[in-house]
Amino acid sequence: MMTLISIVEIVISVLLVVLAFLAINSKSLIKSVMFLSSLSMLAVIGFVLMKAPDVAVTEAVIGSGLVTSLFVFTLLAVRKVGKKI
């Protein structure tokens, strides 16, 4: 617990596990999709901490721009956004 980097690493690890548990056990579908999007953003910070810039750029563009928008377009076609399924 000495340096700033190890404190950031522990906080990111705990947040990753909590967000994944919330994404699986939540009642409405649109909340699960938003938790998945923020989980992907925290994984980008994890990749930067492990000194992998190529993987971080690829995961940032794909996780935020593409997968989230595909999920939202599927739920929009169903028209039950926000209600209990």
Binding site: S6, A23, L29, V33, L36, V55, E59, I62, V67, T74
Partner: protein, 111 residues
């Protein structure tokens, strides 16, 4: 510490894949499983105090200590294949809703 978080993400994704009843939740659990797996593979090649594997004008010789670049190249391919799988799964889910009217796999009767 990040390696243990990746293993817990793997376990959570697998548990969601085995027990959930909604098709969208199954695809979300598959995505969580893939994020955990990619984090685990990159963490096998990490060296404490190493540099990112690019030659720049600051790190300009090959006698320095670099991080392992081979797991990063394999994970680059795996992320893109995960996107392809998710897109095809969501197209199937949209067609299932138009035919049966629901996303739960218990309520899809015989047509």
């Amino acid at each position: 510490m990040l390696q243990y978080a990746a293993i817990v993400l793997l376990m959570l994704g697998l548990y969601g894949l085995l027990t959930q009843r909604n098709i969208i939740k199954i695809i979300i659990s598959l995505n969580i499983l893939e994020i955990g797996l990619n984090l685990f593979i990159v963490s096998v090649g990490f060296v404490d105090g190493g540099l990112a594997p690019i030659f720049t004008s600051v790190n300009n010789s090959s006698n320095l200590v670099f991080v392992d670049p081979l797991p990063q190249a394999l994970v680059l391919t795996a992320i893109v294949i995960g996107v392809g799988t998710t897109a095809l799964g969501l197209a199937l889910a949209k067609n299932i809703y138009q035919k049966y009217g629901t996303f739960e796999i218990d309520e899809m009767g015989e047509e």
